[in-house]
Amino acid sequence: MNYNWNWNIFFQPNPMGTGTYLDMLLSGLALTIKTALLAWIIALVFGSIIGVLRTLPSRAASWIGFAYVEFFRNMPLLVQLFLWFFVLPELLPRAAGLWLKQLPNAPFWTAAIGVGLFMSARVAVQLAAGVSSLPRGQKQAATALGLTTVQSYRYVLLPMAYRIILPPLTSEFLNTIKNTAVAITIGLLELTGQARAMQEFSFQVFEAFTAATVMYLLINIVVVTAMRFLERWVAISGYISGK
């Protein structure tokens, strides 16, 4: 290996005039976290709605749920972001398209919404699986008590289903964070984007990506730990995740 290692590079000023190279990576990290959180909220909200639709007795509802899931999960995320960012504005009437293109921070919003919708299809499948894993008697008992469908989901089925799917939801959350890296394709300079920019400027490619790797690991450790606490906190003794 003929490589000039230079770990001090992080404390040298970056050529963009925004502090050191480390500052550059940290600003990328902040953007990664912001994008991932917004995307995760979108994924949870839409995933829950679609997941419930898929388990309803109504034919139409479960067909809508099915179509939504297949649409979003069968297309590569990269292609989806590209479509949202470059193709959608061209399909709209010219004025609306131009308005959309000139929105400030367009890459950020497109990335958060694009990643969020992609992940929502996965959350929907998890939730539907959680609901159908419950014993059938639960739903029948709720109906026998005189609860409406909305009530039986709100008070009986969903509280249990969410507890069952907490562990897989943790990994979906981790995936959401990692998937934001795809957003460099639409010009969002998140952590991976900044690491790439750093290696282009300084040619210290290994240092840049090592630092990015460590940062991804750290956020993921934080998320895993937080989710463990959440699991323990919501556990009901005697029930599946209780002890």
């Binding site: 290996m1 003929n2 490589y3 050529p15 963009m16 131009l98």
Partner: protein
């Protein structure tokens, strides 16, 4: 019989080694001699420097110069046959592949600057290009100040986006700077009106415009964000004997008039695969560079 043969071979090898001992081969030259092959790193879409033609073969201005270097290396090492291996590289992989010895020369459009020289070396400059911008004719942007308050795109991690950022701050332009992943996507942003202008090396802008759907719709600015900056063929750092051979080879190509011929072939005539003609006559700075080859990273050295 056979035994004697082997012994004589070993003797010959030992003698040969002791002879070469006077000028002990090291680094890249040594590994080229031992393997009988040299590996060129090439790009896939740096038109017309290094890109793939319709037969997926890497061609271009920088590739032609690299083949001249290969000839010189072959002569220097007195080899009958030197196999040329080709490895595709991207802007992200070129440094690791150079550092770990996969490629010996990177033939493309890599800017030679002082920052990068801490990691790699460059041979004599093969091109000089200034940072300019392309706009649609319809947007009527005549000078840099017309970009005030508009969205302007440039490729992330390039010296160009750095110069744009600096000019933006120095001149109070209030430009909304959008970083793009690569040149093709940055150009797409101008094509789809997400940005009014794309700041990049002018020669790359020319090739993007020439290859676009409607080349007549675009105009490249007269105003520049920088002085002409040098492109160089990259080689490993701290390998003086190899650099000496490569420098001598490129200097001979430029001063001997061959360089100008190769230049004309790629910049003023139709090039494969689509028969584009970049119609970019040689600049005064590059003419100077041909007369007095230099590997300086400093733009002021090329006046």
């Amino acid at each position: 019989m056979k035994r004697i043969h082997v012994v004589s071979l070993a003797l010959a090898a030992a003698l040969g080694a002791s002879q070469a001992g006077a000028q002990e081969l090291t680094g890249t030259l040594k590994s080229i001699k031992e393997s009988g092959s040299i590996t060129l790193g090439h790009r896939d879409s740096s038109i017309p420097f290094s890109y793939l033609d319709d037969a997926q073969k890497p061609v271009g201005y920088a590739m032609d110069i690299c083949y001249k270097i290969v000839d010189a290396v072959k002569k220097e090492l007195k080899l009958d046959k030197l196999e040329v291996k080709l490895t595709p590289v991207t802007s992200a992989t070129r440094i690791p592949l150079m550092a770990n010895g996969t490629i010996d020369l990177e033939c493309g459009s890599t800017t030679n600057n002082a920052e990068r020289q801490k990691q790699v070396s460059f041979t004599n400059t093969h091109f000089l290009t200034a940072s300019r911008y392309v706009t649609k004719k319809a947007s009527k942007i005549e000078k840099i100040d017309d970009l005030k308050g508009k969205s302007v795109v440039s490729t992330a991690g390039t010296t160009n986006i750095k110069q744009l950022t600096e000019a933006n701050a120095a001149r109070n332009l209030n430009i909304n700077i959008i970083p793009a992943k690569d040149h093709a996507e940055a150009f797409l942003m101008v094509e789809t009106d997400r940005a009014v202008a794309f700041v990049m090396d002018d020669i790359l802008l020319s090739s993007l415009v020439a290859g676009s759907k409607a080349p007549g719709d675009y105009v490249i600015s007269k105003d520049a964000f920088s002085k002409p900056e040098p492109y160089g063929i990259m080689l490993r750092k701290d390998d003086a004997p190899f650099k000496k051979v490569v420098d001598a080879a490129t200097a001979a190509v430029y001063t001997g008039g061959e360089g100008a011929k190769i230049y004309d072939k790629w910049f003023t005539q139709k090039i494969p695969p689509k028969g584009l003609n970049l119609a970019t006559p040689i600049s005064a700075e590059l003419k100077n560079q041909y007369a007095k080859p230099s590997d300086s990273p400093d733009p002021d050295a090329y006046k």
